[in-house]
Amino acid sequence: VATISELAPQVAAGRIKSEKLTEECLGKIEELNPKLNAFITITAEEALAQARHADQEIAGGRRIGPLHGIPISLKDLIDQKGVRTTAGSLVRKDHVATADAVVTRQLREAGAVFVGKTNLHEFAFGTTSEDSGFGPTRNPHDPTRSPGGSSGGSAVSVATGMALGTVGTDTGGSIRIPAAACGVVGLKPEWGHVSASGVVPLSRQLDHVGPLAASVADAWLLYNAMQPDSQRISSTLEAMSLKGMRLGKLSGYLFDRLDAEVERGVLSTIDRLQERGAKVVEVSLPHANDMAAIYLHLVFGDAAEYHARTLISRPQDYTTPVRLRLEMARYVLAEDYIRALRGKALIAAEVDRALEGVDALVLPALAVPAPPLGAATMPVKGGPDAVRTLMLRCSQPFNLSGHPAIALPCGVTRDNLPIGLQLVGHKGRTTALVQAALAAESVLAELS
């Protein structure tokens, strides 16, 4: 798959036409979408008009921004003016956005071309992208499997070249999980660093908006473009030197229940980084075992509030599994929600402590390879466990804590299913996290 970092300078120089790139993406959508169901809405005409306009501007010597003429997709819970935002649900099937979300506006101002809105787990309330009002999304590496979720269609769009980059959201791992399952890069920024205004919420205090892309450099380029002008740093970054890089390997809970091949892949990547000069120390999150319960009560409380009215007025328009989980969410008591809020603050402090003296934490992005569609459990070390629990296990701590985290591919299983590595950075130092990820990516590229 071609990268934005390679193509954007060519487009900016007029050597490659945006119209041609956009046609190529639309061609892949036409070819692959009937099988993979990654897109809910395809905005071909608008995209081609945007692309032709970009080509005219470039020919006239006008440079808009780092994504000028670059075709990207948007998860279909992010508003794009004049296009429906379904959130993967028939509840919103006719809802047309009257304005761009802030993140859409930033990307439009950076020159992006929007090829369509991608499929997702209904209302982002799930990790497999199989419960959508518009049918399940399928993994391009094995269409009998889930692409992960909830930003499943977004990850598939990048993995297959249907878009060169995309925007997802991550409440418990919904950027990093599908990135790992589909073999692409997913960056969950620090909480609040990319605006969620104009984005359908799942849990406002846990929702993060961020990019998925074919490379770490592309994820950075998109992330940087999502920032307000005053906070943009640079479209490109240098990799951190591996010599002297300090990594904290999270022991215990976060490595306890892994698929054997995922564990081997991640541990062998950590060994390679160590051989190349990184110093690795063991760190822990003492209350990691409480995280799933804390997360559940927060996300249930928030989701129950947002869906309270439509669960009564339009229950038939939800998929059954999501409707039932939302109904269950309505039984969470206020005192338990408040307990969970206190637990969230505790986990954030523990992640800060684990990061003391290291540049980043290192762990798997996803405990298992992409699960078969319809699977309720998967085998892991210690016996089978529920797919949903396993999918969230390695990612949700950093939604609770709000720290920036990035997933990047680190090999494949014997069945050729991608494995994802996760790095977690300090608050206020997303740049350093991405620089560490660039270094890890370069080592992994040498190995492959």
Binding site: H287, D290, A292, A293, I294, L296, H297, F300, L324, R325, E327, M328, Y331, V332, L333, D336, R339, A340, R342, G343, A345, L346
Partner: protein, 55 residues
Amino acid sequence: MTIAEWLETAKADAEKRGLPELIPMLEGLAQATERLRAADWNDDADKDTPSGNDQ
């Protein structure tokens, strides 16, 4: 309200609303709530005064 009392009430309510599929799910939620309430960082009104209230 104890978790057992909450669970009985919730199950009866789900049954009354015609959502019996919720019952096993509510039992799972009750286990998570039990874990949350048992966590060692919870305060008790008859124990040490909480610190860190300024966070």
